[in-house]
């Protein structure tokens, strides 16, 4: 099976070549790489004790200085330190919530697409229900009921954002199921599980990947929004920093160093994920790629 491995490598190389042609995708990937790297090395080079209000050493609401490159907050904590540690929370919640959302969406979509009839109808009505529900409000309510904590926020975001994915995956599943090779597989004796895992899943996987990337972006926005509205994970995140800056009137007092860094970080990461997602879509989605 050496040749198979070589082919896989070839396919990967081809994918990378196509992806490289997407300039915005490259920018997005570069930005992401920087943020992920920072988030990974932060615990190695900084001390989280500086996040503790009681242990903060700096002056209150100080503008950027040599000691505090991005200034300090109302408790004298370093904004830079909070940004770095906040990126860990924001990215973690973004990734895990998107993952949860994609798992629910993919399973629902494939199931609804594969089994026709009433089970599909029921699943799709549930999907529609989630689709029309104001998901932010639902997430707020969920977070309030389930209590604080990172996992709660992940759950709240994941459970409210899968519906659009499910619709997309179902449509793709229906298209795959109409292919003659699925019928051939049935005639060979294949059951539902075989058809779904061997034929449908590999065909919708690229779509799922591209969609996940986009979902991460929206999950980070939702996390920030929830944190801003008060439902935070109990740790400093970009959203909770914005909340803090609002509570302490950072804008009116001209403390731009408190508002801009978390805001710009959110914009940058979300844009980066969107760029990557669009680029992946262009490379992987056969319909956008034209004749394939």
């Amino acid at each position: 099976m050496n040749e198979t491995a070589a082919r896989r490598r070839g396919a990967l190389a081809r994918f990378w070549r196509d992806y490289r042609a997407q300039r915005t995708g490259l920018y997005g990937a570069a930005i992401l790489a920087v943020f992920v790297l920072l988030a990974l090395v932060t615990p190695l080079v900084t001390d989280p004790s500086g996040l503790d209000v009681t242990k903060a050493t700096g002056p209150k609401m100080a503008p950027p200085s040599a000691e505090f490159p991005l200034g300090t907050d109302e408790s004298g904590r370093s904004i830079l330190l909070m940004i770095l540690w906040g990126s860990r929370v924001s990215l973690l919640i973004g990734f895990l919530a998107a993952l949860l959302s994609m798992v629910i969406g993919t399973v629902t979509g494939i199931t609804a697409g594969h089994f026709r009839g009433w089970s599909s109808a029921v699943l799709m009505r549930i999907t529609d229900w989630f689709l029309v529900l104001p998901s932010l409000v639902l997430a707020l309510v969920l977070a309030a009921i389930l209590g604080g904590g990172t996992s709660t926020i992940i759950l709240a975001i994941g459970v409210t954002s899968w519906a659009a994915t499910a619709r997309l995956i179902r449509a793709q599943t229906l298209a795959v199921e109409a292919r003659p090779y699925v019928e051939r597989s049935r005639v060979l004796g294949a059951g539902h599980w075989h058809v779904m895992t061997r034929h449908v899943l590999p065909n919708v996987a690229p779509l799922v990947l591209a969609n996940t990337t986009l979902t991460v972006a929206s999950a980070i926005v939702t996390e920030s929004t929830l944190a801003f509205l008060g439902a935070d994970a109990g740790q400093a995140s970009w959203g909770s920093m914005l909340r803090g800056s609002y509570d302490w009137g950072a804008v009116t007092s001209g403390a731009w160093w408190y508002v801009l860094p978390p805001g710009l970080c959110i914009v940058a990461v979300v844009l980066a994920f969107t760029f990557c997602g669009r680029a992946l879509e262009a490379v992987l989605n056969p319909r956008l790629r034209g004749v394939a």
Binding site: M1, T4, R7, E183, R184, V187, L188, G189, R198
Partner: protein, 322 residues
């Protein structure tokens, strides 16, 4: 020895609120080691009949029998049936998952059925389908193959289960003329070497002439004429068969039937072919005194028989043994 049999088979669909009688009473047998061609225009129900024989559609009434026993539709029984009766689909390109290599495509059946010695099975199936040496084709993807090779891979995928009957739906319609003969020869060779039976669904009478022992001509859900290929295609009795034969490119006097094949939601009364029948239109039926019957008296369902049979009042007026 009859292997696969359709007995008084009816299959219906709902079509735009109407009931389409796609298969409207068919008796058909495929004997052991026999190749039967099922010919007819698109929309005559031949593909539905083939799918029903494969257990992909359930009949509204009537039975599919395999080895004399009626086909059961439980998941387990159908899976066991799949090892005996296999499909050769029309479009080999669409029938192969582009993400699977030839090896994976052929091994799919054995894997589903949990058969042992997968590698040997795949290799032997590929070489029986004429892809030699088989190992060279293992890592190849379908898009790297020609149309004829793809059809061989699909056939190998069916052979990997050691079936006894192949149901081939237009096996060469999407292939180039030059490859056509190769694939048909393969079917003949499989019959000679493995004793495989085949039901070949086609609109191509030349194909029937090339490889079939018996031919059944289908019109609007019924078999209107059946019998040994030499008899049916050299001296057709049913006007519909005559018309089909007459429009082949080499024929001297084509009888081009007007209109499209009629709608299975609206099957005409009397003989179902009478609105398009050239024998009736030319007045020959009236000379034989059967024109009234043609318009009003439906013909009974032809029994399955290896003899020449035709469901036509006019033909019977002249040859009562039909």
């Amino acid at each position: 020895m009859t292997l696969l049999e359709a007995r008084d088979l009816h299959v219906q669909f709902a079509s735009r609120g109407r009931r389409a009688r796609a298969v409207d009473g068919v008796n058909l047998t495929v004997g052991e080691g026999e190749i039967v061609a099922l010919v007819g225009e698109s929309g005559c129900g031949k593909t539905t009949l083939a799918r029903t024989l494969l257990g992909l559609e359930r009949p509204a009434s009537g039975t599919v029998l395999y080895g004399g026993a009626p086909l059961a539709y439980s998941t387990r029984a159908l899976k066991a049936y799949r090892r005996e009766v296999q499909l050769v689909p029309q479009d080999p390109t669409g029938s192969l998952n582009p993400r699977h290599t030839v090896y994976e495509a052929v091994a799919e059946g054995p894997r589903i059925h949990g058969l042992r010695d997968e590698r040997e099975r795949v290799a032997s199936a590929l070489s029986r389908a004429g892809l030699r040496p088989p190992e060279r084709f293992f890592p190849v993807y379908p898009h790297e193959l020609s149309g004829g090779q793809r059809q061989r891979v699909v056939i190998a995928g069916a052979l990997a289960l050691d079936p006894r009957v192949l149901v081939a739906d237009e096996p060469v319609a999407s292939l180039d003329a030059s490859v056509r003969g190769e694939i048909l020869s393969l079917l003949l060779r499989l019959r000679a070497e493995l004793g495989l039976s085949a039901l070949v669904v086609t609109h191509d009478l030349g194909l029937a002439w090339n490889i079939a022992d018996r031919v059944a001509v289908m019109y609007l859900g019924r078999i209107v004429e059946s019998g040994p290929v030499e008899q049916v295609l050299s001296a057709p009795s049913h006007p519909y068969t005559q018309a089909l034969l007459s429009v082949l490119p080499d024929s001297p006097a084509p009888i081009v039937l007007g209109g499209e094949p009629p709608d299975p939601t609206r099957i005409p009364g009397g003989c179902r072919f009478h609105p398009r029948c050239h024998v009736l239109a030319s007045g020959k039926a009236a000379e034989a005194g059967v024109d009234g019957l043609c318009r009003s008296q439906p013909l009974e369902i032809l029994p399955s028989s290896t003899e020449l049979r035709a469901a036509c009042h006019y033909a019977r007026a002249r040859q009562p043994q039909l």
